[in-house]
C-alpha cells in the first residue's frame, strides 16, 4: 500500500554538511538522517538558479525542454503540459501537500505553485515570507537595514517568528492530520534558508566564532576562466551592507573580513536549517510514521562562498550546481525498527558533535532530473517512460533515469580505492 513520501528541498544549500565531510558546519540532524540513508556525493542540478532548477526536477525534464532559463514562463503554457512528480503521486492515490518554497513562486508556477494540478490542497506559504527582504537587520548604529549578513533577535521579527519556523510548524500539523486520517501522503517541505538574506536567529553565530572562519581555498578569479563563465554576483551587491562597501563591478573583490562574515553567516544559517529539519524528523517519529515514510533530502542548487572570486549561484561551477541528495527508505536503506523506537530524535547542534556516517553512499554522478523516476520506483509506482528525443507533446515522461539501481550496487568503497575522501570522514 505504498510508502508515504516526505520530500525536503532546501534553497541554495551546497553540501556543507557533516555527512558530506565538511569539518566546519554543525548539522547533526541532517547527519543523523544520512546515517539512515543512501547518500549521493556527486549530485548535480540542471541549472544553478531557483525556478529553472525546481521546474526541471519537479517535471523530470531538462531546462531545454521546460524552456525555462529565467523566472518568467509557466511550462504548461510556454513549452508543454508536462506532468509533475507531485501530480503523478496525486494521480496514484496520494494526498499531495506543499509547505514553504517547493515550486518557485510567481509566473514559473502560475502564481499557484501549480495548484490544483500538483497539490491536493492549496499550498502553504509562511505569513512572514513577505518580510524576507524588508529592513529587519539591525546595524551597528542600531538602525534597521536590508543586509546580506543578518543575524536577528527572533523576538524582534514581525510576528516574532521566521518563515522556516512557520513551515516546520505547518508540516508537523499536516503530519498529525495525515496520521489521524490514515491517509497516504506526499508532503513536500521547502525551506528558505540559507538563501539570501542570511537571516537567522543570532544565537547560531556562537557556533562559528569569526576567528575560526577562513576564506575560500581559491578566492581569486582563475586566470584562464572565460569571462562568459564568470557570474558577477549582482544580487548580493544590492544588499545594504554590500552596497556600503562600494566594491567595483564585476570582479570586486569583497574585503577579506566581509568574505569571512558571509561564510560565517552561511554556516550559521545552515545550522539553523538543520534544527528545523531535526524538529520535522522528530515529529515524524512522534506520530509513528518513520517506518512507513520515505524521506528525500536535497536542494535546488548550491552557492559559491567566494571560490573563484564568486558568490551566489548563477554559474556552471560545481560549487553552484552540486547539491546534497539522500534517500531514507525504511526496509531498504535501514532495517525497520521496533514500534516506538525513535529513529530521528532531535539533536541540538549546540551540544552535539560530529560522528555520524552515511548508511550507504554512492559517488556515482547523478542529476536532480532523476528524482521523479527514482521516487516513483521507490514508492512502487510505475516508473515514467524515458522521453523521446523531442517530448514537448508528451505529458508524462522523464529525461532522467532512476538511480535506484545505485542503491544496491556494491559501491566500490572510496576509502579502499584511493584513501578516504571527504564524505567518508564524517
Amino acid at each position: 500500500d505504498g510508502m508515504n513520501i516526505l520530500f525536503i528541498v532546501v534553497d541554495d544549500l551546497r553540501p556543507v554538511l557533516g555527512c558530506y565531510g565538511d569539518k566546519t558546519v554543525k548539522s547533526p540532524n541532517i547527519d543523523q538522517l544520512a546515517s539512515q540513508s543512501m547518500v549521493f556525493s556527486n549530485a548535480y542540478a540542471q541549472q544553478a538558479v531557483c525556478a529553472p532548477s525546481r521546474v526541471s526536477f519537479l517535471t523530470g525534464r531538462r531546462p531545454d525542454t521546460t524552456r525555462l532559463y529565467d523566472f518568467y514562463s509557466y511550462w504548461r503554457v510556454h513549452a508543454g503540459n508536462y506532468s509533475t512528480m507531485p501530480q503523478y503521486f496525486k494521480e496514484n492515490g496520494y494526498m499531495t501537500l506543499s509547505v514553504g518554497k517547493v515550486f518557485h513562486p510567481g509566473v514559473s508556477s502560475n502564481y499557484s505553485d501549480d495548484f490544483p494540478y500538483s497539490w491536493s490542497i492549496p499550498p502553504f506559504h509562511p505569513s512572514t515570507e513577505k518580510y524576507e527582504n524588508d529592513k529587519t537587520c539591525r546595524g551597528k548604529d542600531g538602525k534597521l537595514y536590508a543586509n546580506l549578513v543578518c543575524p536577528v533577535d527572533v523576538t524582534e521579527m514581525p510576528s516574532g517568528t521566521l518563515p522556516d519556523m512557520q513551515s516546520t510548524e505547518e508540516a508537523i500539523r499536516l503530519l498529525n492530520v495525515m496520521k489521524t486520517k490514515k491517509q497516504k501522503f506526499f508532503l513536500a517541505v521547502g525551506y528558505h534558508k540559507p538563501h539570501i538574506p542570511l537571516r537567522y536567529p543570532q544565537e547560531f553565530l556562537k557556533l562559528y566564532p569569526l576567528e575560526n572562519i577562513t576564506l575560500a581555498p581559491d578566492p581569486w578569479v582563475p586566470e584562464k576562466l572565460p569571462s562568459v563563465a564568470y557570474n558577477p554576483w549582482t544580487d548580493i551587491r544590492q544588499r545594504d551592507d554590500v552596497k556600503a562597501l562600494n566594491v567595483s563591478f564585476p570582479y570586486g573583490p569583497l574585503p577579506d573580513d566581509f568574505q569571512r562574515q558571509i561564510r560565517q553567516s552561511y554556516y550559521a544559517a545552515v545550522s539553523y536549517l538543520d534544527t528545523q529539519v531535526g524538529l520535522l524528523l522528530n515529529a515524524l517519529d512522534d506520530v509513528g510514521l518513520s517506518n512507513s515514510t520515505i524521506v528525500v533530502f536535497t536542494a535546488d542548487h548550491g552557492w559559491s562562498l567566494g571560490e573563484h572570486g564568486e558568490w551566489a549561484k548563477y554559474s556552471n561551477f560545481d560549487v553552484a550546481t552540486r547539491v546534497p541528495l539522500m534517500f531514507y527508505v525504511p526496509g531498504l536503506t535501514t532495517s525497520s525498527v521496533s514500534e516506538g523506537e525513535k529513529i530521528f530524535p532531535y539533536l541540538d547542534p549546540f551540544s552535539h558533535g560530529l560522528g555520524l556516517v552515511p548508511q550507504g553512499q554512492s559517488n556515482k554522478v547523478v542529476e536532480l532530473v532523476s528524482l521523479f523516476p527514482t521516487l516513483a520506483e521507490l514508492a512502487g509506482l510505475r516508473v515514467p517512460p524515458a522521453c523521446p528525443e523531442s517530448s514537448f507533446h508528451v505529458a508524462l515522461c522523464t529525461e532522467g533515469a532512476s538511480i535506484v539501481r545505485y542503491f544496491n550496487a556494491s559501491e566500490e568503497k572510496v576509502e579502499e580505492k584511493n584513501g578516504c575522501d571527504d564524505t567518508c570522514r564524517c
Binding site: 524552456r67 532559463y69 562568459v228 564585476p250 539501481r405
Partner: protein
C-alpha cells in the same frame, strides 16, 4: 551499469563579458548558453551561441570552453580547455 554516469547542467548568459544582467538574463536577452558535462573525472563546458526565439543552441558558434580534471584540480581553478584537444568530448556532449 557499465555506462559512465554523466550529469548535464547549463547556464544562460546575455553577453561574453559580465554585465548587470549576467546572473539572471531574461529569455529574450539570452545570447549564449553554457552546457556542462560532468563525470567523476572531469567537467567539460562549452559556451555556445543561443537563439532565444527558437531555443536553438549553435555548437558551431563556440564562444569559450572550460575543461577541469577533478583528480588534479578538484576546485576547478585551472582551465585546460585551450591546451588540450577535446574533439571526443565535443562529440560526447553533442
Amino acid at each position: 551499469f557499465n555506462e559512465e554516469p554523466v550529469a548535464f547542467s547549463q547556464y544562460p548568459r546575455p553577453a561574453d563579458a559580465p554585465q548587470w544582467n549576467s546572473d539572471k538574463p531574461k529569455l529574450k536577452d539570452i545570447r549564449i548558453m553554457g552546457y556542462s558535462m560532468r563525470t567523476i573525472d572531469y567537467r567539460y563546458t562549452l559556451w555556445v551561441g543561443f537563439n532565444p526565439n527558437n531555443f536553438s543552441a549553435d555548437f558551431e558558434d563556440v564562444h569559450a570552453g572550460e575543461l577541469y580534471m577533478m583528480e588534479t584540480d578538484p576546485n576547478q581553478d585551472y582551465n585546460i580547455y585551450n591546451n588540450t584537444s577535446h574533439g571526443s568530448l565535443l562529440k560526447k556532449i553533442l
